[in-house]
């Protein structure tokens, strides 16, 4: 709080006093009062006024400096009313009360939406688990049947399963709780799992696979990584060229990380689009041309990677292919041996 500005804000008050005093002065000079008396009246009039203003300034300065100091340092600014002390002057108390009230109300409001979101999330989770039972039984029915449509029905079921999984992970990715469990596993497991999931597409589209150079263990959540890898491989399959599709997966070991690279020789992504592939809802030129893109897959991958503390990047040359790198950090912290 600046004394000069405070004084300026009190200026009208002082000016009014001065004007009244001047009027008084005119009256007194008409009454031929001696100058000393006029000066005495001035002192009696203005010194308490000034003392009052100064005292007021001091007490207010303490409170407001407190607030402004704290608010600048505070990370979560809405916590302010819970930190500051109640001031000892009337107006301050009113403000203090109002602030606390606002804060309380805001918390209630936020909690309301938090609960709403939590309930919704819980509903989605149960729904996903419930729908998995009929899918499981449908899969078994398809497996046991001898009909011609067996394979294509199976494929469709698998797609349904994938979309449901996507919903589940989307819902998990927006949650504040991190419900994953970190443990050590072989990167190769994750890749094999994804290829197994999509094997029919690989066979039908005659895409060959090379995962010879995948090695090493990483320490993170297996299921989330499985999901991420699966999404990337689905993309590679979706945008592969009609013949001679090749999916090459390999790892490179750095000083403090393992980089998993998933490389295809598909249609690639144009220069303008590359930087935006991880944006939510971004489908780009390929999405428009091939019309199967939702713009959710890679966005989710990015988000899940951020949550797990993994790095993800994508390079692509249009017409040549796409390369996705997932970087697993291997700090001293994760090397639990």
């Amino acid at each position: 709080m600046n004394i000069k500005e405070y004084f300026i804000s009190k200026l009208p008050y002082i000016i009014i006093n001065l004007i009244i005093y001047l009027l008084f002065l005119v009256l007194m000079s008409i009454a031929k009062m001696p100058f000393v008396v006029m000066f005495m009246i001035f002192l009696v009039w203005f010194s308490p006024l000034m003392i009052y203003i100064i005292l007021d300034f001091i007490s207010k300065k303490r409170f407001y400096d407190d607030i402004t100091g704290i608010i600048n340092k505070l990370d979560k600014k809405y916590l302010l009313p819970e930190i500051i002390k109640s001031p000892n002057y009337y107006e301050g108390k009113i403000i203090y009360e109002v602030l606390s009230e606002c804060n309380r109300n805001m918390h209630e409001h936020v909690n309301f939406y938090k609960n709403l979101q939590k309930e919704y999330r819980e509903y989605i989770e149960t729904w996903v688990h419930e729908i998995k039972t009929p899918i499981a039984s449908s899969k078994l029915i398809v497996e046991n049947s001898e009909s011609k449509e067996k394979n294509s029905l199976g494929d469709e079921l698998r797609k349904i399963e994938e979309y449901i999984n996507q919903a589940l992970y989307y819902c998990r990715s927006t949650d504040v709780n991190n419900d994953y469990i970190v443990r050590e596993f072989e990167v190769k497991e994750s890749i094999k799992n994804a290829i197994r999931n999509n094997r029919r597409d690989f066979i039908n589209k005659k895409i060959s696979v090379d995962i010879e150079d995948v090695s090493g263990n990483v320490i993170t959540d297996l299921k989330w990584v499985n999901f991420i890898v699966n999404q990337i491989i689905i993309n590679s399959i979706k945008y592969c060229t009609d013949n001679d599709g090749i999916l090459r997966v390999y790892t490179t070991e750095g000083n403090d990380n393992i980089i998993l690279t998933i490389e295809d020789n598909g249609i690639g992504i144009s220069k303008n689009d590359v930087s935006r592939v991880f944006d939510k809802g971004f489908t780009g030129g390929n999405g428009r041309k091939y019309g199967k893109s939702t713009g959710i897959g890679l966005y989710l991958c990015k988000k899940l990677c951020e949550k797990l503390g993994l790095g993800i990047s994508l390079n692509s040359i249009e017409g040549k292919g796409t390369k996705v790198n997932i970087i697993f950090p291997l700090g001293n912290f994760t090397r639990m041996k």
Partner: protein, 223 residues
Amino acid sequence: MPKIMLIEDNENIKKELSEFLMRYGYEVNAPIDFENIVKIALKDEPDLILLDINLPYYDGYYICKEIRKEKGIPIIIVTSRDSEMDEIMSMNLGADDFITKPYNTQILLARITAVLRRTSGSNSICEIVEHKGLKLNVTNGSVGFNENGVDLTKNELKILIYLMKNKGCIVSREDLMDYLWNSDLYVDDNTLSVNVTRLRKKLHEIGFKDGIETKRGLGYILL
């Protein structure tokens, strides 16, 4: 024949899974009385229990715990709850394995064989499939006929296993490739043809002649 008890309350899954497991040579018992399920399981003494979590009366964790108190029957928990907590809880209660729905049936089968092999002791470790005197040792990948024997490569072994499981039926190339890819063997069309030819040659060498026939446009058949 190993006896599997299927504890599952969903009628469809129960029916289809029983059918599926029976096709692969298991004896399946799926009880309907969930109130006394623990007693039934203990009395029946199956070689393996496939257990769902969401069940009427008691949940799967409770059943798993109760069975474990009495007997060491291998238990595989099969559930649609897939959080890590569920998995850890199952393992803590003594389940031997944990599979989430909807499962890949080949993986389910593989897990079942693995658990059975692990728990049944050393005598039955090597798994032998037989067809018209042709003995296939799945564990060490060799095949024998009369006195002769020959070792198979991984691809050949898998192809022969699949043909033997479906003996007398036409196996399409598509299904065969699907099976191979499911076992993490990424073969293409040409490799498959080469492998089948080599396999045929090897079988021929040990005296098992004209076993694998090609049905043009349809696939292969083991006679």
